[in-house]
């Protein structure tokens, strides 16, 4: 078995254990909810008989272990129950809203990598001189405010004072795009509607930037630190002593080893973005899963809360597996490690 496959198998194994744990954790959180979920579900005008009937239907009268059993059994069938907020199956809601969030987070992730890494490399190469200082202050600033503050500031500047970007939504009303993947940037291209594509991208810029700002700062700071650490290694010093061009040193010798720790952190930053999407989607009325999450939490919509958290956890696990595989590709030494990077 190739080492990469072995890592994949091992990660998947761990993921299953973690998923079981996550489902227990979510279940535990959902069961400490104050108040009776059945009564909340039925709304203000329900009779006690109706509440009792729903309690039975939701298995609320059974012992906790049995309730967890029902939860897992339903989960295995892809049945997350009915959302009280939308009156639809939670699975339907998640399938509808997840692509919008993924699209936003992926674009923000790309921004983070294409802006964060070069900034970090630039700072490392000019270590101790003014570009390093400027980048340090800027990146520290970006990680020093929650993404909702950036979202509000960007909105104020570029949607209110200079109205060059739209304030809300994913696409203008005038475009009716058939849903294929749920990713509007892809669906508009599939439909061959380039004006709609441009419009979707236009809508995405402000939220994606607001979401990625602290990630950019984080990625730049880590890349700088890792590059500097690598620069201090003897083989780099030797390369510099041989008089190799700084660009060549940076690209051929320092970058690749520095990328590996950065990648791990970028995986974590991606998780942070999944969380921060809750804030950014709220500001920009982005109809994604995170906004759904906030809405269902405010309404104590139990099934939907559990479903949303579970799906986000799964997304994060998948991202981590991808990151681990990337690291394995980049670092052949990893195949000799028995412990791996847990």
């Amino acid at each position: 078995m190739s080492p990469v496959l072995r890592i994949l198998a091992r990660r998947l194994g761990i993921s299953v254990i973690v998923l079981i744990g996550v489902s227990m954790l979510i279940f535990a959180i959902a069961r400490i909810i104050p108040g009776d979920p059945a009564r909340i579900a039925l709304g203000p005008s329900a009779t006690p008989e109706m509440v009792q009937a729903l309690r039975a239907e939701m298995h609320l009268d059974e012992p906790l272990v049995a309730q967890y059993g029902h939860f897992v059994a339903d989960l295995a069938r892809g049945d997350l129950g009915q959302s009280l907020y939308t009156n639809r199956p939670v699975t339907t809601d998640i399938l509808e809203f997840l692509p919008a969030t993924l699209e936003l987070v992926l674009v923000a992730g790309v921004l983070m990598v294409v802006l964060g890494l070069p900034l970090g490399i630039l700072a490392a190469r000019h270590r101790g001189r003014w570009p390093d200082h400027v980048i340090r202050v800027l990146t520290l600033l970006t990680v020093s405010a929650p993404s909702f503050v950036w979202a509000v500031i960007l909105m104020l500047l570029f949607a209110f004072y200079l109205p060059i970007f739209p304030v809300a939504g994913r696409i203008s009303d005038v475009y009716a795009i058939e849903r294929v993947t749920g990713f509007l940037t892809i669906d508009t291209l599939l439909a061959g509607n380039f004006a709609a594509f441009a419009d979707a991208v236009h809508h995405m810029i402000l939220p994606a930037v607001a979401l990625s700002l602290s990630g950019i700062g984080q990625a730049a700071r880590l890349t700088r630190a890792n590059m500097i650490e690598t620069y201090d290694k003897p083989y780099i010093e030797m390369a510099q002593a041989y008089g190799f061009l700084p660009v060549r040193v940076a690209r051929s010798y320092a970058l690749k080893p520095s990328l590996i720790p950065s990648l791990t952190i970028i995986g974590l930053d991606f998780a942070a973005m999944l969380g921060n999407a809750f804030l950014v989607e709220a500001v920009f009325a982005w109809p994604g899963l995170s906004r759904y999450g906030v809405n269902v939490i405010l309404r104590k919509d139990l099934n939907a809360i559990m479903g949303t958290v579970l799906v986000i956890a799964i997304t994060f696990l998948i991202v981590n597996i991808i990151v681990d595989l990337l690291i394995a590709f980049l670092n052949p030494r990893i195949r000799h490690s028995t412990r791996g990077a847990s």
Binding site: G35, D36, R39, P163, V167, A282, A285, R299
Partner: protein, 524 residues
């Protein structure tokens, strides 16, 4: 046969669209904070009502600009004691093409009663029977004078279409109706996304003529932030804002040139006191609060611009204009001397009160009222804490008297325009512990007055009963009557809405002003 006609009509529409591309579709865009519930049997709040009044029709409608009702799906009706017999119009078809018959009316009532949600409580003890294809008779178990006005809340649904979409697990096709329309209304549902909007299109085969200028398409958007709505309207990308915008934002829009639409006369802002918990179980303690509340400042807080406000002074439990109300001159005012006098008679020392003042998280202005009350009551030496409750949690908390906060803030309007639907659910001792009745009032005299109001044979008799009730309620102060509510909507100049701008065209029923077929869109 019908199907063929439908296809032919569709082809005709398509052909027209091809030959006349210059005719642009007019689009009306508006918003609501809550997601609209499409299922008409579950409709209760404002967004639900807007959808219901446009996708569905009712047997009758409130008369515009005056009291009473006019026939709508019905061509006429007879009242004989507890029997109400309606003759239906023959020319009405559902959006599916199915003709509407008496069986649909019976089915609509049964579906609503079976689901038991939304406003189904209006139809307890009512049964219906189809006398023939076009005649239906409702029978009441006991006399209920405002029954006719309740019928504006009985949307008629398409029995054949619903039964075709019902399953064993879902006999009333709730899944289908939560995302689709099955009515006769002037607008058909074309898309429903609970996170962002419901899109509706004009129903070309509506049974009544619709003006040329009525919007071809309507987008009801959900959950937009106030700042977003503010900008969208300023940029010409939104037409009517929800009434829940804070007064400052409505004011800013008006300054930018937005028109202000209004709807009033059936609702009020109620500060409800939990009469089942100390110290508010004592009438004098409650009176102290009612006297100490700063009515003037509350009104100042909701003022939008000169002459336009989100409310007018309250005169009692019943909004001015509804029958049984006090005259507009008997306004509630702050009276600290009376408040202190009442405190003297209150058996609980002020320092021990620790009032819980709650506010509904979805309605930001209530936070300011909570702060105002905290400051007002502090002048009597009363300590208090403020508690934010999301609506869902609030409705759960009020189910027990111990869980119900001392003070709850509720905006409520008569869902049928009749004072019975305003007050019975609030104060009758048989229905405590709903979001309408966090007072937990249990007063035989109030109960008697409420029953006299709903069974009264004549308008004058009923009016007298409600006037007596109003006086009694002011005496025992289960509620602080904050102000009579007026809904204010900021709107662009693209749309004109006579029902919300001309008193002679007003319906006197919350949400019905948003009958899209009566609106007019300017070109562009």
């Amino acid at each position: 046969m019908i199907k063929t006609k439908g296809v032919f009509a569709a082809a005709l529409v398509a052909a027209t669209a091809l030959t006349a591309p210059a005719l642009a579709q007019s689009v009306l865009r508006l918003d609501e904070v809550a997601v609209g519930e499409l299922d008409p049997a579950k409709a209760s709040d404002y967004a639900d009502s807007i959808l219901m009044f446009n996708v569905y029709d009712t047997l009758l409608l409130p008369r515009q600009g005056g009291p009473g009702h006019v026939p709508h799906l019905a061509s006429g009706w007879d009242v004989d004691g507890v029997n109400f017999t309606f003759t239906l119009r023959e020319d009405v078809t559902f959006q599916s093409g199915n003709p509407m018959t008496a069986a649909d009316v019976v089915y609509s009532l049964e579906r609503m009663q079976a689901l038991g949600q939304g406003l189904s409580y209006l139809f307890g003890g009512v049964s219906a029977e189809a006398l023939d294809e076009m005649t239906v008779r409702f029978t009441l178990e006991e006399p209920y004078a405002p029954f006719v006005s309740s019928l504006v809340r009985l949307p008629i649904v398409d029995m054949a279409l619903i039964e075709a979409n019902a399953t064993e697990d879902d006999p009333w096709a709730e899944a289908f109706l939560s995302a689709n329309g099955a009515g006769t209304g002037a607008y058909t549902v074309t898309a429903h996304n609970p996170q962002s909007e419901t899109v509706m299109a004009l129903n070309e085969s509506y049974f009544l003529p619709i003006g040329e200028a009525a919007p071809d398409e309507v987008r009801l958007r959900y959950g937009l932030e106030a700042a977003t709505v503010r900008t969208l309207i300023a940029q010409g990308e939104h037409d009517i804002a929800s009434q829940w915008l804070p007064p400052e934002v409505i004011g800013a829009l008006a300054e930018d040139g937005a028109q202000l639409l209004t709807e009033s006369g059936t609702g009020a802002f109620y500060v409800k006191l939990n009469t089942a918990r100390a110290p508010l179980d004592d009438v004098n303690c409650r009176r102290a609060l009612a006297h100490a509340f700063d009515y003037g400042t509350a009104l100042q807080m909701i003022e939008i611009a000169d002459g336009v406000s989100q409310g007018s002074p309250a005169t009692g439990a019943i909004p001015v204009g509804m029958f049984g109300a006090n005259g507009p001159e008997m306004v509630m005012t702050r009276d600290m001397d009376a408040a202190r006098a009442a405190m003297e008679a209150c058996p609980y020392p002020a320092a021990d009160w620790n009032l819980e003042i709650s506010w509904i998280a979805e309605v930001p202005i209530e936070e300011r009222f909570a702060l105002l009350m905290q400051a007002n009551f502090a002048e009597l030496g009363i300590s208090s804490t403020i508690e934010t409750l999301p609506w869902a949690l609030f409705t759960e908390r009020v189910t027990t008297p111990e869980g119900t906060p001392h003070i709850s803030q509720i905006f409520f309007n008569a869902v049928t325009g009749d004072p019975d639907t305003l007050l019975y659910g609030m104060y009758h001792s048989s229905v405590p512990g709903t979001w309408q009745s966090p007072e937990y009032l249990n007063d035989p005299m109030v109960d008697a007055a409420l029953e006299a109001g709903r069974t009264g044979a004549t308008e004058a008799e009923r009016s007298e009963a409600y006037a007596a009730l109003n006086a009694l309620l002011l005496e025992i102060a289960p509620t602080i009557y904050g102000y009579d509510r007026q809904s204010v909507f900021a709107a662009s100049d693209r749309v004109s809405v006579p029902a919300l701008s001309d008193p002679a065209m007003a319906f006197g029923l919350d949400g019905m002003g948003f009958t899209f077929r009566l609106m007019e869109m300017a070109d562009g």
